[in-house]
Symmetry: C2
Subunit: 331 residues, 2 copies
Amino acid sequence: MGITMKDIAREAGVSVATVSHVINKTKHVSAEKQRRILEVIGKLQYSPNIAAKNLKMQKTNTAGLVVSSFLDSYVTSIVNGVGNRARELGYNLLFVNTNEQQQYEEEAVRVLSSNAVDGMILSPTTSNLRYLGNFLEKQLPIVFINRYDPHFPEIPRVTADDFQAGYDAAFHLLGHGHTKIGLVLAVPNVTSTVNRIAGYKAALLEKGISFDESLLEIGYATVDGGLNAVKSLLKREPQITALFTLSDLMTIGAVKALNQLSLRCPEDIAIIGFGDFEAAAAMYPPITNVNPPHTIGQTAFDLLLNKMQNFKYTKHIQLPVSLIIRKSCGC
Amino acid sequence: MGITMKDIAREAGVSVATVSHVINKTKHVSAEKQRRILEVIGKLQYSPNIAAKNLKMQKTNTAGLVVSSFLDSYVTSIVNGVGNRARELGYNLLFVNTNEQQQYEEEAVRVLSSNAVDGMILSPTTSNLRYLGNFLEKQLPIVFINRYDPHFPEIPRVTADDFQAGYDAAFHLLGHGHTKIGLVLAVPNVTSTVNRIAGYKAALLEKGISFDESLLEIGYATVDGGLNAVKSLLKREPQITALFTLSDLMTIGAVKALNQLSLRCPEDIAIIGFGDFEAAAAMYPPITNVNPPHTIGQTAFDLLLNKMQNFKYTKHIQLPVSLIIRKSCGC
DNA sequence: TTGTAAGCGTTATCAG
DNA sequence: CTGATAACGCTTACAA
């Protein structure tokens, strides 16, 4: 079917070894043969069979990227960052979105291991990844991004400073006099969420306000999910005067909910979101957001590179967040 | 290094052929041996070497997806659709974003061919893809998505009805009495853009309004790109009373530009965008958009499946668009 | 029902 | 500087 190195060798009157050497520049070959080989390669439009190369080299030059959702701007920026860095460094990217289904995730990890990739970047669906043990034993280089499983400290990870994110949002709202701050989240059992809540809690406690679990509301990480979550939260806890929403789609949903309830933002209810999306500044009102790190994807790939070179590598990196203050918080 | 079928065979006291057969269920094996083999596989945490399998089978179960940009919601939805369908059908996805650089695109196509993928879905950077000829000769299954090169009618493609999109937007604005409609675009030499402009032109002509090229403005496909483009367009052509922006990021930029120029929307300038982003309904004003097809990604994958089964397959599919009317058009 | 062995297209060792 | 040739780990006739 395809044309192989053997064909090139025959046509150019040399051995396959020689062909391989000129292709990979792995040994010096006489100018004449080199010329002939290159010429034949061009004429026959030959390109090496990557599957064969991968088998022989025990290396694929491909990295896996497994994320848990996709439409969110934060995830998009992660994919973007990883993809750019991968291309810069000559790696291919095998991309999987698990849609928050652990079953898909396990499947993806299983497929990507066993020589499909040289390593992988994982944003897991939960923080209890018992199945991962097997793959670590196989020395599969993995790094966590955004979320992680604390049971595997030996896996390098890059995260946003989620604690700070929660703290900053709550601190800022407290500064505006809000004491009943609703918190709208999508995925509870995940380190990023847990840490943001911890930060939120810490800021409250600092002001002597005790944490009230009924101010939390779980919804789907979509616009409608945010909308519904805010509606039911506000119905249940009408004393709420501010909202912290943990994903940009939910933030948009929150704004819609307030509109539908004829509540003004920020006068009646203030909003701070996590994740800065492009439209935030052009919304009504312009949305104050906690801005996640934009370099998280690239950083993850760099960690992976280290992990692939040295399986003992085990660094944890936490990237700072910042508050982008606009109008929805009442400033 | 890794553990192979040979190890399983030895440990279970059978031949590699038998192991292969139980793994792939490709022949009946006695219950007893089957049990033993499965047990050993479990104990040693064996998983087959995919590179070897790919080489032997001349098939990778992997599809390539090459898009030209990423942060745009339309592209995101394409990636999402292709990814979901790929997973449903048991395919992996090799993902590349070319950032509108033809050089990256050529490189990506070259890498993805030569047995890295069984086929690929391509949203090209231009409509002149001479380099593609080689790969077609090699029988690499390709399908176009969103954009295409008309010189290759034998490549199946799925596109939005971009002509209709341009027509609908212009027709609607004309209905509101606008005759000077600015058109803000990012990538001129590409079928989607060209067809949208053609539709816009057709609607004008129907009303007896002649096409004025100076009403077009090119900018970067970002928020700032849209912002700058609108500012310079409005400065140059102050008689403009409506805008049609061809990407959601640019639409957001347009809204920002009007704010900065203290122009009211829709009273002073109306806006219709292409590509419906999640925040559109929560902006000020809520943005009227041409809604691109949401199934384009899945459809592309299905076309690819057909093309892989039968290289003669050459269908072109055009998916309808629809106008989502909100406030920015003056309704 | 099971095993032997050829071969997929490379790379790299080892002689010449 | 060049060429045979043995792997890499799997699938699949073909034989037993």
